[in-house]
Symmetry: D2
Amino acid sequence: MSQATLTDEALRYPIGKVQVPDTYTPELLAQYIADIKTLPARLRAAVIQLNEGQLRTTYRPGGWTLKQVVHHLGDSHLNSLVRIKLALTEDNPTILPYDEPAWAEQADHQLPIEASLKMLEGIHLRLVALYESLSDEQWDRTFYHPGAQKNYSLKFTAALYAWHSNHHLAHITTTMKQWGLA
Amino acid sequence: MSQATLTDEALRYPIGKVQVPDTYTPELLAQYIADIKTLPARLRAAVIQLNEGQLRTTYRPGGWTLKQVVHHLGDSHLNSLVRIKLALTEDNPTILPYDEPAWAEQADHQLPIEASLKMLEGIHLRLVALYESLSDEQWDRTFYHPGAQKNYSLKFTAALYAWHSNHHLAHITTTMKQWGLA
Amino acid sequence: MSQATLTDEALRYPIGKVQVPDTYTPELLAQYIADIKTLPARLRAAVIQLNEGQLRTTYRPGGWTLKQVVHHLGDSHLNSLVRIKLALTEDNPTILPYDEPAWAEQADHQLPIEASLKMLEGIHLRLVALYESLSDEQWDRTFYHPGAQKNYSLKFTAALYAWHSNHHLAHITTTMKQWGLA
Amino acid sequence: MSQATLTDEALRYPIGKVQVPDTYTPELLAQYIADIKTLPARLRAAVIQLNEGQLRTTYRPGGWTLKQVVHHLGDSHLNSLVRIKLALTEDNPTILPYDEPAWAEQADHQLPIEASLKMLEGIHLRLVALYESLSDEQWDRTFYHPGAQKNYSLKFTAALYAWHSNHHLAHITTTMKQWGLA
């Protein structure tokens, strides 16, 4: 199946958009944490199969290269860790959005992906240690996202970052399947 | 030499405070970059010699444990990367300070130090790729630090993060010397 | 499903024994290489979900702990790399078997698994670089295994090490499934 | 100082040849272990400063490239770990020498050095765990080296591998000093 046979929407959202549950059950939270915990290794298992030419291929027409997707996960989850720690140490702090496309154009996105794979291995251990330490009360702590103009609870961030992990990994694995790679 | 024989000032500032040069010569900038480039490996070479008990020892009375110092470098340089990328993609953005002591009390500072060592290996590769890509004009780009109430140029950040790397590494190595370790 | 409901044979050989194909087609060799290439990351994705108590649980009554299985993969594929390089640089060399159970009792098998995960990440990159470089003629080079009293071709070793990777990973994942982990 | 101004002997043996002490004091053994423990990080702190062109430069006329030196440390200490585990689990086993120059010509020596840096990080943790676990009696266990036609005690191997670590690191750092790098 080539990129052309999938709609732009299907290419952009291979696992759909983030789902907000009615209730954040312990089972759901545990699943979010498991997804976040395993993302760096699942990502490595996928991208280790790719050569530099494949890494420099876009996952959809006009989209990022697979290499930029890896580095974007680094950019994004770096900010995730900052936001969670701000929410735990300040009262509903206003966090700082960043210009995702502009960040993807900087020189650090040309590095070998090992730089972001290692960074993500460390960051996700940190994210998981934080989530696993939260009391019921702390799970309800929030930060304010001025772009979305909403308060995000830590529960919601767990759903969001688990989805974001799987979402971008699916950009990579969907592309790999078109090349006959697992 | 025991902790008690050094003044509190000497224990807090083993290499003194950050020096701002009259002129940021290419040689100085190259030295800052080299210090930032090698910090994760120099840090690993030091702390790999320490057992858990030693890592849980403070570097000065009332100060952080060596483990917290390692994780603080992770916290701090994570924010450094965010600030540099903001300065490169926005016009003199106001960055977000964070509560360093409160961050050091969170659950992620109890993790094995490997989490932060890996994170730092990735982050410093990113920092160096960014610095090495800068044009003269970009070196003068700035962000505004609302705590310091000052604009920080990227040149100054290179001096600052190189110093910050060596400063905290010296907290660790000074303590290790008191134990007869290199 | 508990360990007790699986036969000893099923617990020992969760994916059966190594299969020797009639012909080593390019597709088969590519599959072996892909399995070897991704093993360290697939292994990490599994074991990162386990705490120390789980790692110290045996995968079958009387068998190794999951931690020993990880370190055994390190022991074994270390020797694999030695054997392939010997076969490439000497004429049908006699390799040196080792006492697998006795090696699993040494002090290095008590280390945190990170030591073997990193070692395997490096070793498997080396194994794959070697396999991917082989000419048809080199694929038929051999070493002599004095325990098995057989010559092993490099083709056979690719089949063997891919199977060995998946075999021991299945010891871990089969155990994890009994605990409700993926 | 250029390569030409140093004698071939000085280039080959920048720290001299391995020293065998009259007595293996606890202090000496602790120093050997410390050198082995820190080698991977000291090596990384050096080579992270080098670009691909520098890594492809020989450390002496007719000698290996710096990249081959890094990969040779991987080859060699891989065999060191095998030999120590053989000596601990068999009675004065005869170990298997390998053709060092031929091994350095194989395809795995063309890999990015990260492959061997990671491998060495894992291997050296293993080596240190083994050495630190030894009873007085075990320190005197031996293997037989058929090339040298000598029995090597584990005490001697600690001296040898510490020297071998520092010896090859000095090949790299001596070359770097000629380029004005630390």
